[in-house]
Amino acid sequence: MYLPLEEGEEIVTKVHRHWVFIALQVVYVVLLAVVPFALYFALTRTGIVVFTGIDTGAGLALGGLWLLVLWGFFWQFWTTYYMDIWVVTNRRIIDIDYERLFTHQISVIRLDRVQDVTTRIAGTWATFFKYGSVIVQSAGAQEEFVIDQISDPEGLRDAISRLMH
């Protein structure tokens, strides 16, 4: 991905999706990491199931391999979260939209084509965690440009509005 800035173009701000969206995936990975070990100890301590044939070495090897797989998945989640980014420069808004690895879309809108900027915070969770969308109306063929699930959408709207004037 090569995205050169124009001459004299400066990055004003970079915005990621709200942290709550990666937190949910972190909880998911942590549960997957903890549950097998907890289940094993719970079942063996209470004697409900008696495992035989798993010694310390095999346990360490299996645990290490399981955590290795989850480690990889965690960084994959983090990468698709963190690379989903909106970059506001003094001339453009650049949206790098990562769905998953090797699947991304880059949209660019020039600030001089922006006609209107609005914010939308919808729902209880969005209000509680303070995340929402910024909708940028442009004069081009792509009439609406939505920056979704970001923290402090009003701050970004104000920053874009200042750059427009």
Binding site: I48, I54, A58, L65, G72
Partner: protein, 92 residues
């Protein structure tokens, strides 16, 4: 000839468990060969994933310092978990 009467050996309370009572016993054997095959399979998976992740991190046009640090943390974790698995196989 004097013979002692056969006394049934009963488990002491410490040996009685719900599992023993209900008769549930799971016998799983992971010999070092199976563990080594598992390590190889997981190793192939993680190596492929690592190449993909590092490919993306190095090509990202913003925040290159952060992604360099992330690459170090990621590889450190990979080596720690592989080392744990290898040590486990050697013990087994």
């Amino acid at each position: 000839m004097l013979q002692t009467p056969a006394v049934p050996v009963l488990p002491t309370p410490a040996h009685v468990s719900l599992g023993a009572l209900s008769g549930i016993s799971v016998h799983v054997t992971f010999d070092p060969v199976i563990l080594t095959v598992l390590l190889a399979l997981v190793g192939i998976f993680v190596a492929t994933l690592s190449v993909m992740l590092i490919f993306h991190w190095r090509r990202f046009p913003f925040e290159t310092d952060l992604f360099t640090r992330v690459e170090h943390w990621y590889l450190f974790g990979v080596f720690v978990f592989i080392a744990a698995a290898v040590v486990g196989i050697l013990i087994a």
